[in-house]
């Protein structure tokens, strides 16, 4: 089994908070079934698309224990929308030999929560998203998750290959150890450009984006409200406020 993992670079170039949970989950899945690394049965690859500093992001995941990284960085990718991003990531995944791709449920910057489902759709893989727990059977090559959304908790199962996205309650990501940080320096990091994926530059980046921002304006700060100090009747004053605002 191989666990791939995806990360979008967040603005300040730290590992996207929510993607640490994805790295952690990939490592735990491998560790539960014989481990990853040299001589072990599984391997965990980090896949990320973003500007050049994405390298630092991938390095952090390698220092947590991932085995290698594939990074795609290219000026032509700047401004990609979800369609473009999922197209590129799906192309990178398709070139490898992965059983599972593990993502966060949402990126801290875009917050769309659509990339994992879109990647699965493009690859024709099963989608097991919003997982609050994951159980993998490497022999049967299948996974069962508890999907946690506003509709409740759904138990879902699928055979490999599958795209899994994890919610932040799933685990507590480990801190890289000193040994892990040193080892990460020697791990393989493959940096690709768009040309190596064979995707037409007109289909990604700003050029290929299928939505356009017309304008973005700061919102006026909320008008200052009423503030009372409770001297025994603030509860009643609160009710009067709600009545006045026709909220009750």
């Amino acid at each position: 089994m191989e666990g791939g993992r995806l990360d979008r670079l967040s603005v300040d170039s730290v590992l996207n908070d929510l993607d640490e949970y994805a790295v952690e989950e990939a490592l735990r899945i491998a560790e539960a079934h014989g481990g990853n690394g040299a001589g072990a049965p599984h391997s965990v690859t980090v896949i990320s698309m973003g500007p050049e500093r994405t390298v630092d992001v991938a390095r952090k995941a390698l220092s947590m224990g991932a085995d290698s990284a594939i990074i795609i960085t290219d000026d032509a990718l700047a401004g990609s929308d979800a369609l473009g991003t999922s197209k590129v990531l799906a192309a990178l995944i398709a070139k490898g030999d992965f059983d599972l791709v593990i993502c966060g449920t949402e990126s801290t910057d875009a917050r769309m929560s659509v990339i994992p489902a879109m990647i699965a759709m493009r690859l024709g893989w099963a989608q097991l998203t919003f997982a609050g727990s994951v159980t993998v059977d490497p022999v049967a090559k299948s996974a069962v998750i508890a999907r946690m959304t506003e509709s409740g908790v759904e138990k879902m199962s699928a055979s490999f290959p599958a795209v899994i996205s994890v919610v932040e309650k799933i685990n507590e990501p480990r801190y890289p150890s000193f040994k892990g940080i040193m080892a990460a320096k020697k791990k393989l990091m493959e940096v690709q450009t768009l040309a190596s994926t064979g995707i037409d530059a007109n289909l990604v980046g700003t050029a290929g984006s299928k939505s356009t921002v017309i304008d973005a304006v700061p919102r006026p700060p909320r008008a200052a409200g009423i503030k009372v100090v409770d001297e025994g009747n603030a509860g009643t004053e609160l009710v009067n406020f709600l009545v006045e605002k026709k909220l009750i």
Binding site: M121, E150, K210, P218, G235
Partner: protein, 317 residues
């Protein structure tokens, strides 16, 4: 006039209230058709709920495979309808399910997608409020069908009575949409309260409750509100994670949000900042949450909430 499709989601035994919000926004831009993906044999029953708002047509597709195979099954069915009927837009509620369906339909129809809009104009320009409520962004889909997901509660729905024309379609779900199977479903535990993201009023508790949510729940119940929680409260196990409001929880935008014993960390604000009216109860006059308050009480929630609960109850009787 352009055709606007909206996805009518089924929530439990009825059509989700958000459907009428989608239809109201859709009517800004054209004539509205609702797509209803219903369990086998139950299409007519659910379609009968679509008797309000500016809905002119309902397309019913019945299959038990929607519940069984989740997002991709719905996405395939919708994409087939879009391909044959060519509407100019598809509006879907911004739930986990809705956003994923929208993303998959965007891939299948090669159309642009905008998520979490709070408004849609006649020319299908979508309005989004981003960065924790600090920026308003207007954008438009520039290629394909405009696929837009809409935040629940962003607008007041038009609920005038209507009698849409109902048609049935049958659609074959391809094997590639049946790769993951739902084995069981436990509906959310709401304790009879409205769903968090759909509620008109949300009363939330944080670390300041010290684990005792009873005054928060009592106030919520007298107001017919949903209960929310800060991450400090959900992490401590005081309230289920499904009730967390904020960056890594739900985004809510109710008419009234009451924050009790919550300091107002940026990650919490990201999930509630666009609420219409915000009330705060906090012991610490310096708590940053007061910056958002339309009505702030510096005080102990264990004193203020029971008094307010009594006050509302007295008015109602």
């Amino acid at each position: 006039m352009s055709e606007i499709f909206v996805l009518a989601e089924i929530a439990g035994e009825k059509v989700a209230k958000t459907t009428f919000e989608l239809a109201t926004l859709g009517a800004h831009a054209g004539s509205v058709t609702a797509i209803l993906l219903a369990p086998a044999g139950r299409g007519a029953e659910f379609a009968a709920h679509l008797n309000a708002g500016p809905i002119e047509r309902v397309i019913v597709v019945e299959s038990d495979e929607f519940a069984r195979y989740g997002v991709p099954a719905s996405a395939y069915a919708i994409s087939q309808l879009l391909t044959s009927q060519k509407p100019s837009a598809l509006l879907i509620a911004s739930s986990a399910f809705g956003k994923e369906v929208a993303g998959c339909v965007a891939v299948l129809t090669d159309s642009g997608i905008i998520t979490d809009a709070v408004d849609v104009a006649a020319d299908l320009t979508a309005t989004q409020i981003i960065f924790g409520g600090s920026m308003t962004v207007h954008s438009r889909v520039s290629s394909g069908i405009s696929i837009i997901t809409i935040r629940p509660n962003a607008i007041t729905p038009d609920l005038k009575a209507s009698t849409p024309e109902i048609t049935n379609e049958s659609i074959e779900i391809p094997p590639t949409a049946k790769l993951a199977e739902v084995l069981s479903l436990e509906p959310p535990i709401t304790g009879g309260r409205p769903e968090l993201t759909e509620a008109q009023i949300v009363v939330s508790g944080g670390r300041g409750t010290s684990g005792d949510f009873s005054p928060v729940e009592a106030f919520a119940d007298v107001l017919g509100a949903a209960v929310g929680a800060s991450r400090a409260a959900t992490d401590a196990g005081w309230y289920p994670h499904s009730h967390q409001v904020g960056q890594t929880g739900k985004t809510v935008s109710p008419q009234l949000y009451v924050a009790c014993g919550i300091s107002g960390a940026i990650q919490h604000r990201a999930g509630m900042q666009t609420s219409k009216t915000i009330v705060v109860i906090n012991k610490d006059p310096e708590a940053p949450i007061f910056e958002l308050a339309d009505f702030g009480v510096v005080g102990d929630l264990f004193a203020v909430l029971p008094q307010a609960t009594e006050g509302v109850r007295a008015r109602k009787s």
